[in-house]
């Protein structure tokens, strides 16, 4: 198994948006979901989620409220707002274009030029 990679800067927020687009989740759940989605390729230091969530709250991408968790204990759940959904789409599009471009560059051989 390969060593988990550090996250590219700025991608943590995209991953959080994606995780929350599936279902509203508390902080720990978001971390688990990111691990699961990335099949442990990315290893997020879990504490770093909270400053990111705070920034995203201030940008109005997500909202939060307290509700009982699956074990009955109170937890803060985060959910995507309409603006967050638009942000996710926009960032996804940018990511795809960038990834495709980088991928294209990496495939180039001298003969193709």
């Amino acid at each position: 198994m390969a060593t988990p990679a550090d996250l590219l800067p700025g991608t943590l927020e995209l991953l959080v948006l994606k995780a929350l687009s599936l279902e509203p989740m508390h902080g720990w759940g978001i971390g688990q979901r990111i691990d699961q989605l990335s099949r442990d390729v990315f290893r997020v230091q879990q504490g770093s989620l909270y400053p990111a969530l705070q920034r995203m709250l201030r940008k109005g991408w997500i909202r939060s409220d307290w509700r009982p968790s699956e074990h009955g204990r109170r937890a803060r759940y985060y959910a995507l707002t309409a603006r967050g959904r638009r942000q996710l789409e926009a960032e996804t599009a940018v990511w795809r274009r960038t990834a495709a471009a980088v991928d294209g560059i990496l495939r180039v051989r001298l003969a193709d030029l």
Partner: protein
């Protein structure tokens, strides 16, 4: 954007809840993680360790989240404020002293700003007030007087400069109707006066040009207060009748509530001013007020008016030979405020000095406190707080104290402005003074500046690392050589600021003492006075009035216990009556030159004995000096000395009031000087027989065999028996004389209070400084004593160290006073601003007070036990 503000506001306002929730969230996360790891088969201890590792440091991410919330600086501020308030709460005496001193200083400065700004700087409360002017007669830059009917009519007909122009004559009238008869201030006005000011009535109408016609019914505009007191309020006042000097006037309008002053004249009623066709250029006594046309300059209006002066001069030359007199416009503001300017400047200057002294004092307090807390702050620094952060704490403390002081100061200023009437009852525009937004803004700005100033030295001490000495003696006393020097400089500044205040107070007190010793020229202790004004309605002509004068004197003299009684159109100590021009037959004025003028009273024969005015030469008036008899005059001794130096004045003749057709007036007697124009002025005066005068108003003076207070009742009863409808009120001449001294007494009291405050503040400062120097050098002093130094030598050394700063401050203060010039000017009487005795006395007083303040710590220094002092390590 809105989400951002909402999130920040939440984090800020529900700070505790926000932090609690963050803690709860982070703990939930960890426990959830631990539980998951245990469920996956890990040992509980290992699970916890792994969870913590995966999280990456709770405190670190907690702080990072706080940073991300965007309210960090505000959180820090809140923490600083809490820390400061806790600190101040632990030392309430310090906090209270500092806040109180600051509140008094900032409050006084704010109140003075409000007064100065309203009275001296702000526009008069009339639309386009910058275009309002008052017109004077002027024959030299320093000699101005009022206008006559001729001038007013000529200006009204010929002027091309004014949108509106009118006249006003302030005076007093007997008022009857709707209540007890009384004498009230009134001002007779033309329609042009009110329209020039742009006055609008609350109800009814104002005076209109048609009201000025001789056949129109007399009308009056009244203040809202008079309407409420006598006429049943604003609504019912219009249409009612008021008797003014016995003439029925119909009330046509009421001024807006609160407006009882127009163009600097306070009056309860504003009846129409009617001008009869004049027979000669004088008499003067009318004030002309006009509104300049837009864009027209004062100089252009001056040229217009000067042209009018030249055109009317030849027409009235027979009775007025001053060819130099010109009608001259001055800004209305200048003529209203003029006299108050100097006193207000003095007052503002004094308050500024007190404010600076107070700031120096609080700065010392803060520095001492910072030094005393040097260890606490040093501990904080070693615990990781940066010097900058500690400096911020010290600054916060200074700012919190001044903020509290400013708040309290604004309250004090509001209170003080209600008392302005007590300190300066004659201040022009006093009714306009309020604590407005501008004053509050000034208070806040003053507070902020003060906060920075008082925090300056302790903050510098912290930043420079000068708070805590490395050497043991410094550690004990909480301070370094640097803080000692700063405190010395602050003390010197306090002394320097106290000197001008003390000097001003001493000079004013000196003047007051001299004023009190002035001989007013009459016996004030045993006479009383009643103003009489027989109304034209019941006393239609001169004969009737003169009969009334004779009867009034007769009933007064018949009152048991009355020694003498007489009438005069003037009343010492501050009512000079009329001013008249004259031309001496023996020493005539050159053709076209300005004739001399003098205070001019018409008096009955009994006037001189009633006030105990001595006859020096010639004779007094007798009943033979009546209407048909040749005109005669009695003059005062200093008048005689000025116009006939070295000659006898008896038998000299003069032309009176520019009437060259009238028979010459002969001087028949010379009496003692009476101070008519205030105690500080000279005693020139001319008296003519009341029975040769047309005057309708005179003061009755009654001299009694015992204390006059007991005779007011009987005298008034006799006068009422003569005419029950006359408004009468008696006053004691003794009280009038005291009233004349009220103004200088008040100024002396105010400045003495300031001076005393400054002296007390600087003495406290000196005491604190010297005590501190002794504490800091305890070891050194101990060593000296152990080596055999006399306690007296130690005392000398301590005194020298303390007095060094005092002397420096004294020199600076004296230089400051000398360069600030003749700041007391005309408030002084018979004392120069550089009076060496006063300066010497003030300096000596201050040095003695400083010496006394040094003495206690100095004596204590001599009693230090060497062994203990050296053992204290």
């Amino acid at each position: 954007m809105i989400a951002d503000l909402r999130a920040r506001a939440r984090a800020l306002i529900f700070r505790r809840r926000w932090q609690r929730e963050l803690d709860e969230e982070l703990h939930f996360h960890l426990e959830q993680d631990v539980a998951a790891r245990i469920a996956a088969g890990a040992e509980p201890a290992a699970a916890r360790r792994e969870a913590l590792a995966a999280f990456g440091g709770i405190e670190r991410w907690r702080e990072a989240t706080l940073d991300a919330s965007g309210v960090r600086p505000l959180h820090d501020l809140a923490a600083d404020l809490r820390f400061t308030l806790r600190g101040l709460g632990r030392n309430p005496a310090f906090a209270l002293t500092a806040v109180l001193v600051l509140a008094l200083a900032i409050g006084a400065a704010t109140a003075v700003f409000s007064v100065v700004h309203t009275v001296l700087l702000s526009d008069l409360p009339y639309p386009h007030a910058d275009r309002l002017v008052q017109v004077y007669q002027q024959n030299s830059p320093t000699n101005q007087w009022t206008l006559s009917v001729v001038d007013i009519q000529a200006i009204a007909e010929q002027q091309r400069s004014f949108e509106a122009f009118g006249a006003v004559r302030p005076g007093v009238a007997g008022l009857a109707g709707g209540g007890e008869p009384e004498q009230v201030p009134v001002a007779w006005v033309t329609a042009g006066f009110l329209s020039a000011l742009g006055t609008t009535p609350a109800t009814g109408r104002l005076i209109e040009p048609g009201d000025e016609r001789p056949d129109a019914p007399p009308v009056v505009v009244v203040t809202a207060r008079l309407a409420a007191d006598r006429l049943g309020g604003l609504r019912s006042a219009v249409g009612r009748a008021l008797l003014l000097d016995g003439v029925s006037h119909t009330v046509v309008g009421v001024l807006p509530p609160g407006l009882d002053e127009l163009a600097g004249i306070r009056a309860a009623a504003w009846p129409v001013l009617r001008t009869a066709t004049p027979a000669r250029r004088g008499p003067f006594g009318l004030r002309g007020v006009g509104r300049l046309r837009p864009q027209l300059t004062l100089a252009a209006a001056g040229r217009d008016l000067a042209g009018i002066s030249r055109r009317i001069y030849p027409l009235w030359r027979a009775g007025f030979r001053d060819s130099l007199a010109r009608l001259t416009p001055y800004p209305l503001r200048e003529s209203i405020v003029g006299s108050a300017t100097q006193q207000l400047r003095l007052f503002a200057g004094a308050v500024l000095l007190v404010l600076l002294g107070a700031l120096a004092n609080v700065a010392t307090l803060l520095l001492v406190r910072a030094s005393a807390r040097g260890h606490e702050l040093a501990v904080r620094a070693t615990l990781g707080a940066s010097r900058l952060r500690v400096a911020r704490l010290v600054l916060t403390e200074g700012l919190v104290l001044t903020a509290l002081g400013t708040l309290a100061g604004i309250g004090l200023a509001a209170l003080a402005l209600r008392l302005v009437g007590l300190i300066a009852p004659d201040l022009p525009r006093a009714h306009e003074i309020v604590l407005d937004a501008r004053s509050v803004a000034v208070a806040v700005a003053l507070g902020a500046a003060s906060g920075l100033l008082v925090s300056l030295s302790p903050v510098m001490a912290v930043l420079g690392g000068r708070l805590v000495a490395l050497r043991p003696e410094g550690r004990r006393s909480g301070g370094t050589r640097w803080t000692g020097l700063v405190r010395g400089v602050l003390v010197a500044a306090e002394v320097a600021l106290a000197i001008p205040l003390l000097l001003a107070a001493a000079l004013l007190a000196n003047s007051l003492l001299r004023l009190q010793r002035v001989d007013p020229g009459y016996d004030a202790g045993s006479s009383l006075t009643v103003w009489l004004a027989p109304p034209p309605a019941r006393y239609p002509d001169t004969t009737a009035v003169r009969t009334f004068w004779r009867r009034a004197v007769a009933v007064a003299v018949e009152t048991p216990g009355v020694v003498a009684a007489g009438l005069a159109t003037s009343a010492p100590p501050d009512n000079q009556g009329e001013v008249n021009n004259f031309n001496l037959t023996a020493h005539p004025v050159p053709e076209g030159g300005a004739e001399p003028t003098s205070p001019w009273s018409a008096v009955s024969p009994g006037f001189f004995p009633a006030l105990g005015i001595p006859l020096h030469e010639g004779r007094l008036f007798t009943d033979a000096d009546s209407a048909g008899a040749p005109p005669v005059a009695v003059v005062s001794r200093s008048w005689a000395a000025r116009y006939f130096p070295g000659e006898s004045v008896i038998g000299q003749q003069m032309v009176e009031g520019g009437c060259y057709e009238c028979p010459r007036t002969t001087i028949v007697g010379m009496v003692g000087d009476v101070k008519y124009q205030g105690l500080g002025r000279d005693g020139e005066g001319v008296y003519t027989p009341l029975m040769q005068s047309e005057s309708r108003r005179a003061a009755l003076f009654v001299r009694t065999s015992a204390a006059p207070a007991g005779f007011t009742g009987p005298v008034l009863r006799h006068l009422r028996a003569l005419d029950p409808d006359l408004p009468l009120s008696a006053r004691l001449m003794k009280d009038e004389l005291r009233r004349a001294l009220a103004d200088p007494t008040r100024w002396t009291a105010v400045l003495s209070a300031f001076g005393a405050a400054a002296l007390a503040l600087s003495s406290l400062g000196i005491f604190g400084l010297v005590s501190y120097l002794v504490r800091r050098q305890r070891r050194e002093i101990g060593v000296r004593l152990a080596l055999g130094a006399e306690p007296r030598a130690i005392l000398r050394m301590v005194l020298a160290r303390g007095m060094r700063y005092v002397l420096a401050g004294t020199v600076v203060g004296l230089v400051l006073t000398a360069v600030s010039g003749r700041w007391l000017g005309s408030l002084l009487f018979e004392v120069g601003p550089n009076d060496p005795l006063t300066i010497g006395g003030v300096t000596a007083t201050l040095l003695l007070a400083a010496l006394a303040a040094c003495l206690v710590p100095g004596l204590q220094a001599g009693r230090i036990r060497p062994v203990e002092a050296m053992a204290e390590e």
